[in-house]
Symmetry: C2
Subunit: 174 residues, 2 copies
């Protein structure tokens, strides 16, 4: 079985979550199967290595699962990008639009060295709202995003456009 | 430098966060130093191995950083315990008291095999509200908690009492 087939077989489709008409891709079976999780981390790590990443950033909360593990595997530092109000030191904030209303994520101002090469990791690229805001935060904090890597990309939602010129990688796409 | 001193040197004290009078222990410098993060994961992994853990559970969101990485290191499955409304499959919920009001966390009903030995991981043991609720969820889902392991324990808050008979380990205590 190839990598994509193996990973897809560990993702469960949940209709009508979190609201009617949405087909949710549930990654909990993948997390709960250590061999498949290992395959996913290996793919992320390869992407980050090829991009010459010097630090890993991950988005609250599912991006923490993959981001921290990839940082561990590559022996790089990890930077959390969190929902507003969670980071205790000096922060930069970036808001982004949701279907109804908006949300805001934050990063610590001292997260990076100037010009550092950062890989951004999250589980899902959908409309790109969160990912695009995360890219801006990393750049505003003085670093460069050398790759944005996602486990799953929902291609019909066109999220890559929100990430501008950043090289985007997804391991699985639907 | 011994392990505890080294870990403590990578934790930053932030006064009056999230509210006046609270001294917040900021773990972001620890996450951002791969050698120190490695020390923390090694300690967690040893605790889980000695307890004979067959699966790792971690609590949303900072518990994901350590829990998923420890599961990866030990080649075990990882189970997320999440804030209410985030898990898409059939869930069990458990509420717990906060200083003002209450909160609820959830787990998937199919997370474990019956009787399985589970290690619960989180970054912080404070009053034990979240940890105690997480223990109940794991037990209600049909598994047993063989250890509850925390990076930091705030001993003055007496959180161990909320975990009942479960063996509790903390790597650092204040």
């Amino acid at each position: 079985m190839d990598t994509v087939t193996r990973l897809k077989s560990a993702i469960r489709d949940i209709p009508d979550f979190p609201q009617p008409g949405i087909l949710f891709r549930d990654i909990t079976p993948l997390l709960n199967d250590p061999e498949v999780f290992h395959v996913a981390i290996t793919e992320f790590a390869r992407t980050c290595r090829e991009a010459g990443a010097e630090r890993i950033a991950g988005i609250d909360a599912r991006g923490f699962l993959f981001g921290a593990t990839v940082a561990y595997e590559l022996n790089l530092g990890f930077v959390p990008i969190r929902k507003k109000g969670k980071l205790p030191f000096q922060t930069l904030g970036q808001s982004y639009d949701l279907e109804y209303g908006s949300s805001e994520i934050e990063i610590h101002t001292d997260a990076f060295r100037p010009g550092e090469r950062v890989a951004l990791i999250d589980d899902l690229l959908a409309t790109g709202g969160t990912g695009g805001a995360a890219v801006k935060l990393i750049q505003r904090a003085g670093a460069q995003v050398v790759t944005a890597a996602f486990l799953i990309e929902l291609t019909a939602l066109g999220g890559r456009a929100a990430l501008g010129e950043i090289p985007v990688t997804s391991i699985i796409s639907y």
